[in-house]
Symmetry: C2
Subunit: 159 residues, 2 copies
Amino acid sequence: MTNEELLGNAALKSWKQILGRFDKDLASLTDEQFQKRVAPGKNRLFYLLGHLTAVHDRLLPMLAVGERLHPELDEAFISNPDGTLADPVPVASLRSAWSEINNQLTAAFDRFTPQDWLHKHEAVSDEDFAADPTRNRLAVVLSRTNHLSFHTGQIVLAK
Amino acid sequence: MTNEELLGNAALKSWKQILGRFDKDLASLTDEQFQKRVAPGKNRLFYLLGHLTAVHDRLLPMLAVGERLHPELDEAFISNPDGTLADPVPVASLRSAWSEINNQLTAAFDRFTPQDWLHKHEAVSDEDFAADPTRNRLAVVLSRTNHLSFHTGQIVLAK
């Protein structure tokens, strides 16, 4: 691998590691356990899984790797806090949406060249990107990997 | 910036972002609040701060950027779970050790060239590194950034 490839590869490996850890936690939880809260008065696991699924679904267009697959999750899991709306889908649907979205993202990241990682993300304008080329896809993926770690730290508390 | 520099820069920026977020949470907590647990029966904030401080202190030799500053924290915060030993230091000492260690790490990362990021870390042998050059400093820093995010997700629950 070239230096550029090694540098991009580290981000890909980090994404896969954190996703793999989360998926292991997910597999160990029963559907009933998803109604538990991470701490008294805090989010249910169900809400966190929905939130993460919606946030990762938004990565598909943001990184120009596909169309959104589940925009119907935004209302309950991004626009509103836990407990505001009735749960829009059962846990099983969230589990399969989560896999579907992340499989598509990981498959795309696996094909990314260093230049692809440094491409601007779609939520930044050409002008802003020209002024600040660090607003690239790599920055977005590192940020979402940290976001996933953040909520994984909460989810393990309810196990 | 060259492509290599942009790729290394993304990791540095991610480290600074997550550290900055944690430091803001830290500043908003009183010393008394550090005795709170993140959830019933789980770690106290005090233990998590000690744990993170000890883990980051170990990065200094692991990334060959300095000698350890606070090896005395390992026994209470790495080798043993919360509540096993008496608290070895007051919160104020942990706060200052935390800043001291992370300031030294960040100053070193700020000077890292792409080649520095791809240098092997000190916990891997020359042979193992030759076989797997992804075991570099960049991988370690991404991993510790995720680790910090993981525990930040827990700490915010006690606020």
